[in-house]
C-alpha cells in the first residue's frame, strides 16, 4: 500500500483509539455510578474494552489491504 494510504490509516487509527478510549471510560463511569456503587473496576473494564475495540479496528484496517475481499453475486 502507498505511504499516503498508510498514513491515512494510521491517522484513522489514532482518532478511533481516542474515541473508543473516551467512550469506554464514559460508559464505564456511567455503569460504575448506576449499578456498581462507584467502584473502580467497571471504569477500568470499560476503558479496557474501548482500547481493545480500537486495537481490533486498527488491526483490521491495516490488514485489509492484503486480505482478499470477495463479493457474492446475488442469484437473479
Amino acid at each position: 500500500m502507498s505511504e499516503k494510504e498508510l498514513g491515512q490509516k494510521w491517522d484513522r487509527c489514532l482518532a478511533d483509539s481516542a474515541i473508543k478510549f473516551g467512550t469506554g471510560l464514559g460508559l464505564g463511569i456511567v455503569f460504575s455510578v448506576v449499578f456498581f456503587k462507584r467502584r473502580t473496576w467497571p471504569i477500568v473494564f470499560g476503558t479496557g474494552l474501548g482500547l481493545g475495540m480500537a486495537y481490533s479496528n486498527c488491526q483490521n484496517d491495516l490488514k485489509s489491504h492484503y486480505v482478499l475481499h470477495s463479493k457474492v453475486a446475488k442469484e437473479q
Partner: protein, 104 residues
C-alpha cells in the same frame, strides 16, 4: 423496583446514544465522530461561557505542526546529501578563485 428500572433506563440510554452516534463502530465511523466532536466543540464552549458570564483566555496560536515536522529531519538530511557534490564543487571553485585573486 422503580429505582432499578430508572437505573436500567439511564445505563441503556447511555449505551444506545454511544451506539447510535457511531462511537462503537469501525475506524472510519470513529474518525467521522471525532471530526463532528471537534466541529461542535468551539460553539459549545462559547455557549457555556455566555451562560456563566466569564471569558476564557484565548488559546495561543502555535505555529509548529508535529504532523508536518515529523519527517523534516530525514528530508533535510537527504536533501543536503543530494546537493552535496554540486555545493562542494561550487565552494571549491570559489576558494580557488579567491586564492587566484590573492596571487594576482
Amino acid at each position: 423496583m422503580p429505582l432499578f428500572a430508572t437505573k436500567l433506563t439511564l445505563a441503556g440510554g447511555a449505551l444506545y446514544v454511544a451506539y447510535d452516534s457511531g462511537l462503537l463502530g469501525n475506524g472510519k465511523e470513529g474518525s467521522v465522530a471525532l471530526g463532528r466532536a471537534k466541529d461542535a466543540f468551539p460553539p459549545a464552549v462559547e455557549e457555556w461561557m455566555k451562560y456563566f458570564g466569564f471569558q476564557l483566555p484565548a488559546t495561543p496560536k502555535i505555529e509548529f505542526s508535529p504532523l508536518d515536522a515529523w519527517n523534516s529531519g530525514v528530508q533535510k538530511s537527504f536533501h543536503a546529501l543530494s546537493v552535496a557534490p554540486s555545493t562542494a564543487s561550487d565552494y571549491t571553485k570559489q576558494g580557488l578563485q579567491y586564492v587566484k585573486d590573492l596571487t594576482k
